[in-house]
Symmetry: C2
Subunit: 186 residues, 2 copies
């Protein structure tokens, strides 16, 4: 189980451009964001906030979808991916009380979450982290990386998802946009 | 998210009768087992081992199954439930790499996990805790309570599950049987 911590504060590879509360309470501002993934690390001293998660197993994706995703998706860390976004989300208790088939029906049959995401591959690279079982105030965190030229496409992706039936169950969402600090010092 | 800790050591409401490694490494022996569920607690000093988990959302159960389960299942803590069992399980990486529909097909369509369990309700009360995302060496813990008269039924339940296709993915399982310490001091 690989852990991750996202730490907002004075240090980190990503410069924070904007922090927008899409739904519910926002997060404090800070100059930098660090994505610390792996075995042993310490969150930077003076962090404004730290959110922890884990890479875990798929919850909804079926085999045929997984094969389409794997065939099209890109890795994180591409040199032209100078834009990033961290979107922590918490869903309502009503969502979590649903049975697996009910959540799956909303997630894909009616909201087309996977199908919409596929349209933006490989431009938008994505990694999902879970945190609900950790007792976090968030249920999951999604990290995205894309090129400057794909900013509008990324905006369209998140706008489309936010219009779905699935998103009626989102009770807190913050959209944190960042740009690579390394790119800017080249 | 409600947390639980199972602590084996000198104190606890349950006297440990047997600890059997069904698969993989066993756990150390101890006189008592405590199930500490809720907000704030400390594991007893001198514990031989402590396993943490959380009550979380259903991963496989569909709506119709959930209704059948809710209609038949019993609560924990019945006065005649003087027997208990704690069964921590870890599944293989091959299991966790499967897509959701593949895991569901093995779990219920082919192994009848829910259907078999239903046959033993309400005699065997059951609560599932998840721990995989906590970075535990276990994936989940199941706690069972039943009456002395239902010991053979409980043995049959676990024997049937262990013969299923799903169980081929179990790489570690320990079966800890306990009896109520309160019942024995009445």
């Amino acid at each position: 189980m690989t852990r991750v911590s996202f730490a907002a504060g004075p240090a980190g590879d990503w410069m924070i451009e904007t922090i927008d509360a899409v739904c519910g309470q926002t997060l404090a501002g800070a100059p930098r964001l660090a994505r610390l993934e792996g075995e042993a690390f310490q969150a930077p001293v003076g962090s404004a906030w730290v959110i922890d998660g884990v890479r875990s197993n798929d919850r909804y994706v079926e085999r045929a979808e997984k094969e389409r995703l794997v065939a099209r998706q890109a890795e994180l860390g591409r040199s032209d991916s100078t834009c990033g976004a961290l979107i922590p989300i918490r869903k309502s208790e009503a969502w979590w009380r649903l049975a697996q088939d009910e959540r799956r029906a909303i997630f894909e049959d009616r909201s087309r979450h996977i199908a919409i995401g596929l349209e933006y591959l490989p431009a938008v690279a994505r990694r999902l982290y879970h945190c609900r079982d950790l007792g976090s105030e968030w249920d999951f965190l999604t990290w995205f990386e894309y090129a400057e030229a794909d900013r509008a496409a990324f905006d369209a992706l998140v706008a489309r998802l936010r219009e779905t039936e699935e998103w009626r169950y989102v009770e807190r969402e913050v959209d944190i946009r960042v740009i690579s600090a390394r790119a800017r010092t080249d």
